[in-house]
């Protein structure tokens, strides 16, 4: 049932990723109103080289992260198909979709966490601040300092709370005790954890509750002062109270950070995000303002998913 639906949609969409639309078109389309369903404009398609330059420049003004024609493979299996997506600065962008639709693979591609997986391969471009993260001159360590990440399972190091937050700074070479103290306090405050832990900064991080551990991981990511924070289902292992704390936090953080969040929880996407991309079987089906996705989806599949008809 689901499969037939899919096939029909693919056939009806000449502008689909597989139809060979150059990446820059999607970028231009995105610039002109963010609507992925708008068909490609004729002149843009005819001269790719100049347009590439043009599109890149144009999207730089709007987008913090600009993804063009991005494919990803695990060995021979292609799991991401021609992803085109512009993620705006200082906004929350949610990635939703059923399990196994490669949202996590996609978000982990942005800071190249997939590099450690053997046999994994990427093609296409992901620009962060206009620089290709997969380009030859890209430095993955530098990239990850600008693009922080919070994982599904909280993963505090078996060290003290203080040392967890200070870790990123210390590997960056910061030794000054006073500076470290300052950043640790600021990061924990931003992660809404300071008041709960200020009296036991040197206690083990493993003694914290699940929700606190996750906020500690957020604080740890913020400590290195990234521009972008990627969150891969940050609240999926937490109870509703801890979840609501994380959501409030995300809402606060978007004033200073560009946030990309993968979530299975559609209410969560609706609550915290400004824009939502709906993924399905490694493709983006629809990408628009969150309100649009939930109130007025253009695609039948999006509607079916957000209203809970499948997934």
């Amino acid at each position: 049932m689901m499969m037939t639906d899919l096939r029909r949609r693919d056939a009806a969409e000449p502008a689909g990723e597989d139809a060979g639309v150059p990446p820059r078109i999607a970028a231009i389309v995105a610039r002109d109103g963010w609507n992925a369903a708008v068909p490609a404009a004729g002149p843009a398609a005819s001269s790719p080289p100049t347009n590439a330059h043009h599109a890149q420049k144009a999207t730089m003004a709007d987008a913090k992260i600009s993804v063009s024609n991005f494919d990803f493979y695990y060995g021979a299996a292609k799991v991401l198909h021609g992803i085109n997506l512009d993620i705006p600065d200082r906004k929350v962008t949610a990635l939703i979709g059923p399990s196994g639709c490669s949202k996590s693979t996609f978000i982990r591609s942005i800071n190249r966490m997939n590099d450690i997986i053997p046999d994994a391969r990427a093609s296409g471009t992901i620009l962060v601040d206009g620089k290709d993260v997969y380009g030859g001159d890209a430095d993955v360590v530098e990239l990850r300092r600008r693009v922080g990440m919070v994982f599904q399972k909280s993963n505090p190091f078996p060290k003290s709370i203080y040392d967890n937050v200070a870790y990123g700074l210390r590997i960056g070479g910061m030794r000054n005790k006073r500076q470290l103290d300052e950043v640790v306090e600021r990061s924990l405050t931003r992660a809404a954890l300071w008041h709960e832990v200020k009296d036991r900064l040197h206690a083990s991080a493993l003694a914290l509750s699940g929700g606190q551990q996750q906020r500690l991981c957020i604080a740890r990511a913020l400590a290195v002062d990234p521009d972008v924070v990627l969150m891969d289902e940050p609240a999926s292992a937490l109870d509703p109270i801890a979840t609501s704390k994380i959501e409030e936090l995300i809402y606060e953080l978007k004033n200073n950070y560009t946030i990309v969040i993968v979530t299975h929880n559609m209410q969560q996407a609706a609550r915290v995000s400004d824009r939502t991309a709906f993924f399905m079987l490694g493709r983006i089906i629809e990408y628009a303002e969150t309100n649009e996705i939930f109130m007025n989806p253009q695609q039948k599949m999006t509607e079916d998913y957000v209203t809970g008809r499948f997934g």
Binding site: M113, R144, F151, P156, Y167, L206
Partner: protein, 283 residues
């Protein structure tokens, strides 16, 4: 109840009993060894045993102070040799499990693990005793170290693999280089386990006799000189046990008791360290 079901239940019962029996058979020797060693050894243990030197043949009393110190020196040399080599190999195997080089290293470690200890002793004799024409503590220590290397390699590898993958990702996501992540986060998390693993390996090689017979030899006198023959608990136990004197037999039991207790304590400590890691994995 149908006949078929009755037959199946009987069959199942039969195998349960068979399994229980196998467990009992496996445990009986262990229980008996512990029983005899404790019965004979615990009583023979005294402060003299730890502090006194062996008495001349025919005189009763005395202890194994030189052998205890000798064993400590020997396993000290072994650790100095085996821990850096084995530890770094183990880290490599855990971090780059799929490479061709890794499978060669792993295979080599397994082969080395299977080499009889007497062969390792002959090897150490050939390269460290024959050229200088003298038994030495160094030769004995290196022989024990060679036996230790494969155990340290596999322990390190397995314990690093037990560290939750999330810790590695967390460190990398903060901009740590791979070596930074390994030495700053992963290794410290695995360290209590690796350390106890090393202690267990030490306890195991401390129980080796054969490779010491023609490397460290033995020494009836107090010696801490690394280039001279040195006494060890195991060789002393061996010498005393095959002697015709009751007092020496008593002391041999005490030595055996000491060795067994050492291994038992360290094995229990190792279990706790591993359990701690497993808990971290689950949470």
């Amino acid at each position: 109840m149908t006949a078929n079901l009755r037959r199946r239940k009987l069959f199942s019962r039969f195998f349960e009993i068979l399994c229980a029996l196998a467990v009992v058979i496996a445990l009986i020797p262990l229980a008996m060894i512990l029983f005899y060693v404790i019965k004979e050894g615990a009583g023979a243990l005294s402060t003299d045993f730890f502090t006194k030197m062996p008495k001349p043949v025919g005189e009763s009393g005395g202890g194994m102070a030189n052998a205890i110190v000798g064993t400590l020196i020997l396993i000290g040399i072994a650790a100095l040799f085996a821990v850096p080599v084995g530890g770094i190999c183990g880290i490599h195997l855990a971090e780059y499990p799929g490479t061709k080089f890794s499978s060669v290293v792993r295979f080599a470690a397994d082969v080395l693990n299977g080499v009889p200890s007497i062969v390792v002793g002959i090897f150490a004799y050939g390269i460290l005793v024959l050229p200088v024409k003298r038994f030495s503590a160094i030769a004995g220590g290196v022989a024990l170290g060679l036996l230790m290397v494969p155990i340290v390699v596999r322990t390190t590898e397995e314990l690093i693999r037990l560290v939750p993958g999330g810790l590695r990702e967390g460190a990398l996501a903060l901009g740590a280089t791979r070596s930074r992540a390994v030495f700053g986060v992963i290794l410290p998390a695995a360290l209590p386990g690796i350390l106890t693993g090393i202690l267990v390996a030490l306890a195991r090689v401390a129980g080796e006799t054969a490779p010491l017979l023609f490397t460290a030899f033995n020494n009836r006198f107090w010696s801490t000189n690394l280039t001279q023959p040195i006494a060890s608990l195991t060789v002393q136990v061996f010498t005393y046990a095959i002697s015709p004197y009751d007092d020496w037999h008593r002391q041999a039991w005490a030595g055996a008791f000491l060795l067994v207790m050492m291994i038992l304590t360290l094995s229990i400590a190792a279990r706790f360290a591993v359990r701690r890691l497993e808990r971290m994995n689950r949470s």
